[in-house]
């Protein structure tokens, strides 16, 4: 199968490469760019562990063909930190125990970022809806809701 040339921005850096039409965005990110923060849980777009942001939207990268990255801006969990400074969502997940085993955490935080980018002041129901595509078996979700709520507050300046 013919390889396709694509160009995209990944965590702020522009890349050009050739990809197979069979390759998923998750495979490209993990195997070609060695960014292993996004995980493969189910490989069927159900668990959300592979969530990244592409073109401003959260996507299950295990379902997205890598060729669709062409012309897009992609942010993964590795792209959230600014230098040594954690993103407020990351800070909040640490402070509020928003993770246990951590396997869902990258995807969960990316879904939270997508939510808060569009809705800086979500209600509990909106938070629940915002991460309803991400499974977590460890936390029972409650501490995740608290973390996202705290992050929203911090991002508005803590009022």
């Amino acid at each position: 199968m013919e390889m396709k040339a694509i160009k995209f921005v990944l965590n702020g850096e522009t890349h050009e490469c050739l990809v197979s039409p069979w390759r998923t965005l998750l495979e490209m990110i993990r195997e070609d760019f060695k960014l292993t923060g996004a995980k493969e849980g189910c490989g069927q777009g159900e668990c959300g562990s592979c969530t990244v942001i592409m073109g401003g939207k959260s996507v299950n990268s295990c379902l997205v063909p890598a060729v669709e990255a062409d012309g897009q801006e992609i942010i993964t969990i590795e792209g959230l930190k600014k230098g040594e400074t954690l993103h407020p969502i990351q800070e909040a997940f640490v402070a509020h125990s928003g993770m246990q085993c951590g396997f869902c955490t990258s995807g969960m935080i990316m879904s939270a970022k997508h939510l808060l980018d569009g809705n800086p002041d979500p209600t509990l129901e909106e938070i629940q809806e915002g991460v309803s595509g991400n499974f977590c078996r460890c936390t029972g979700y409650t501490k995740i809701f608290e973390s996202i709520g705290a992050a929203a507050k911090a991002m508005k300046g803590g009022e």
Binding site: A38, G41, S97, Q100, G102, Q128, F145
Partner: protein, 762 residues
């Protein structure tokens, strides 16, 4: 309670930073140059003889480096006990469940390995299958193992007091049949490993919640001394018992492939493989008979348990033990008889899962007790308080309880406004609101047969920082954090001064594993003892400098001082430097191991302590039931949990919340749909686990019941709530509908059908 610096504080997790940045590496994130991929070929039949395996087509596929079958393991088998060694890395002659591994390939990439696995041609002769544990017991049922008459994989019997006398003394005797569900542990990280076999032996980065199991299995399988087996623990994406506490076909095959090819070999199971073939909770049928006096006192209980064990015994003997030995908690029980049968079937293997064994029989007994109380006109709180144990307590099977927050927990539920207002039935349109409760117990510091201690080594660095080595694994439960807290507290240091090293069997001390809520209790004791050892060694140097007695040297707030002489003080790091450089320079190495649980445990009769301490969980649950559709929604939970002393309250809350939601999934909707041994819902699309939108409001109240044996008074905090949730949901649904349901999961279909039946019968 003493004034502690880090114990009892809401300390953020030590692994938090690595996990929120994506830096934390899990087994599937590892790769090595020249690495091959391993894929497993699995049986499409639940029960069949293997007549022939043709690997020639697979071997011819370009990129394939090796293909193996069961014969390559030369008859080696493993099992939880010497007499239950029956599972082969790859089945050689007979498959006993659908998806059992029969062959494996190693190839240059994952796709090639996958394709080659499909090219392996296996000729089978299908055998009659046995899929129902009650059918499996019957005379004439097809025998799955030649040695196991009536397909009994394991049976366990207890008989204490005189149950017949107890039933005669009772004013009410009731018998019911209960069923508990067949569910998956539900970790999101599929099992994976990268294995290397070279002149230094085996090195494997494996997703294991108890790495020392696979360490022993690999040494035995490959005939190597344990010193030549190195299991290095990456971050672990959830465990919850079962699969990640055991070895897998992928572990053995990837090591053998590496031995054959000289290359590192990786495998990652798919979620379909997990759901189709990995260990799952036993589903059980519990026939329960209980006797009760008019005042609510329980006079006797007799349980007959039939468990679907699946194709192999695995850890099943312990499961069956736990169904019985824990039935004598948390209520006074003067007469008890228990007969448990773990049945071989041609289903995937039943094994341990959070709430191991206990959740089944407690579900049955808890519901039945409340049914009988209702018949006798006794309030749910009153019947529990009537029978609740208090510490100290010894059960009829010599389980000894030294601390117990049960009564306080039940009273916490009873005092809540929701419970007090329970009499006012609430209904909005077709939605009826129900309130239910439960009160349960779980063991901490679980014991099994054989090696069970935890150990710790603490190395003092010359700058005053500390390396803490433990064989205990944090598979998400937060044990790394609480263990570091204990080391820091004991040494008078801060959290940042102590660095925990994850398991590397070449370096860390041997540990039984992360199961049975044993890490905080047992690894915690070891950690404290090792830290005390460091203090004793350091105190000698301080005592010499100040001409004081070593036992008068105090370690607090990163300083060292002499008791009663506050002017004699210096920073901890200064003393570390003195110790490491005085004279020849000392090497300060502290060590310690736990020695709880050395009293008698009779595994055959069910006598003695299966844990070193016991937690008590009292729970209130509120539900909404749609009386037209049967739709059930859990709206609120109040969990009053006695974990002794919460060493890190935020983590204790988190553990309770997580366990509660796993229990809710099991109680309300999780179940494997089976058809002749085939799992029909082997994907997360079809197998329903709780999502963010399903989550009730969960309040956790810590009941403090300091345990004399626990480190800093702690007991367990990770499994109690998975036992308390199912009965509390079922009692809440009864409150809303007036119907006693006895089978998990409590699906809308079951509720709607029962409501229709109830209406029909007036």
């Amino acid at each position: 309670m003493e004034d502690y610096s880090v114990i009892g504080k809401r300390i953020p997790r030590v692994d938090g930073l690595a996990k929120v940045t994506g830096e934390a590496k899990y087994a599937a994130d590892y790769e090595m140059p020249g690495m091959l991929w391993c894929k497993i070929a699995r049986s499409p039949y639940a029960h069949a003889k293997i007549l022939n395996i043709d690997t020639s087509m697979a071997k011819r596929l370009p990129g394939v480096k090796a293909v193996i079958t069961g014969e390559d393991f030369k008859g080696w088998k493993w099992g939880w006990m010497p007499k239950t060694r029956e599972e082969e890395p790859l089945a050689a002659e007979r498959v006993r469940y659908l998806g059992e591994a029969v062959a494996a390939v190693a190839a240059i990439d994952e796709d090639t390995a996958e394709e080659a696995a499909q090219l392996i041609k296996v000729e089978y002769e299908e055998l009659p299958g046995v899929f129902d544990p009650e059918e499996a017991m019957k005379d004439g049922a097809f025998q799955i193992y030649d040695h196991a008459k009536n397909n009994i994989s394991w049976d366990f019997h207890m008989d204490f007091g005189d149950v017949e006398k107890g039933f005669r003394e009772a004013d009410l005797v009731r018998e019911d049949r209960f069923e508990t569900g067949r569910v998956i542990t539900g970790y999101l990280e599929p099992p994976a490993a990268v294995a290397m076999y070279d002149s230094s032996g085996i090195t494997i980065w494996a997703a294991k919640q108890s790495p020392y199991f696979v360490y022993r299995h690999l040494a035995a399988c490959f005939g190597l001394p344990l010193s030549k087996v190195r299991v290095i623990q990456p971050f672990i994406g959830g465990g919850f018992g079962g699969t990640k506490n055991d070895s897998l076909a992928g572990d053995f095959c990837s090591v053998l492939f590496s031995k054959m090819t000289g290359k590192p070999v990786k495998f990652v199971y798919t979620m379909e493989e997990v759901l189709m073939t990995c260990r799952r909770r036993h589903n059980m049928i519990v026939f329960n008979k209980m006797g009760m006096k008019k005042d609510g006192a329980i006079t006797a209980m007799e349980s007959r348990v039939i468990a679907d064990g699946g194709a192999h015994t695995a850890i099943g003997p312990l499961t069956m033990y736990l169904t019985g030995c824990m039935s004598t908690l948390p209520y006074k029980l003067p007469n008890f008889k228990h007969d448990a049968y773990r049945m071989y079937t041609n289903n995937p293997i039943g094994a341990a899962m959070r709430g191991h064994g206990v959740t089944h029989t407690r579900f049955a007994a808890e519901l039945q007790m409340e049914m009988m109380a209702e018949e006798l006109g006794i309030d749910p709180v009153a019947v529990r308080l009537k029978n609740a144990i208090t510490a100290p307590h010894e059960t009829i099977n010599k389980v000894t309880v030294k601390s117990c927050g049960l009564v306080e927990g039940i009273e916490t539920i009873a005092d809540s406004p929701v419970w007090k207002d329970r009499g006012n039935k609430k209904q909005k349109g077709p939605i009826a609101h129900g309130v239910g409760m439960s009160a349960t117990s779980y063991l901490g510091g679980a014991r099994q047969r054989g090696h069970q201690s935890c150990a710790a080594v603490i190395r003092l660095c010359e700058d005053g920082s500390v390396d803490y080595l433990t064989g205990a694994t944090d598979c998400g439960q937060g044990s790394d954090t609480v263990l570091v807290q204990m080391v820091a507290e004991e040494l008078g240091l801060g959290m940042a001064d102590v660095d925990i090293k994850r398991v590397d069997t070449a370096v860390t001390p041997c540990d039984a594993g992360s199961y049975g809520s044993r890490v905080t209790v047992l690894a915690g004791k070891a950690a404290r003892k090792a830290a005390q050892d460091v203090k004793q060694q350091l105190a000698v140097f301080a005592a010499e400098k100040w001409e004081a007695a070593p036992e008068d040297i105090l370690f607090k707030d990163r300083r060292v001082s002499v008791k009663g002489q506050p002017e004699k003080t210096m920073p901890f790091d200064q003393l570390a430097k003195i110790a490491c450089y005085s004279g020849s320079g000392a090497v300060i190495l502290g060590r310690g191991y736990s020695d709880y649980g050395i009293d008698i445990l009779d595994f055959e009769k069910g006598i003695g302590n299966c844990g070193t301490s016991y937690s008590f969980t009292s729970q209130l649950t509120e539900v909404d039931v749609d009386l037209e559709t049967g739709f059930l929604k859990c709206t609120d939970m109040l969990i009053a949990h006695d974990c002794g002393v919460p060493l890190n309250p935020i983590n204790v809350e988190a553990q309770n919340q997580g366990a509660a939601m796993q229990g809710m999934g099991q109680a309300m909707y999780e179940v494997f749909k089976m058809d002749h041994g085939k799992t029909l819902n082997a994907s997360l699309v079809d197998y329903k686990m709780p999502l963010a939108s399903d989550i009730p409001n969960i309040e956790v109240v810590d009941i403090i019941a300091e345990d004399p044996d626990g480190p800093f008074g702690a007991k367990e905090a990770s499994e109690g709530a998975i036992v308390s949730v199912p009965p509390s949901i079922f009692t809440a649904v009864h409150d809303a509908t007036g119907i006693w349901f006895k089978e998990q999961p409590l699906t809308p279909e079951k509720i709607a059908m029962a409501l229709r039946e109830k209406k029909k019968n007036g």
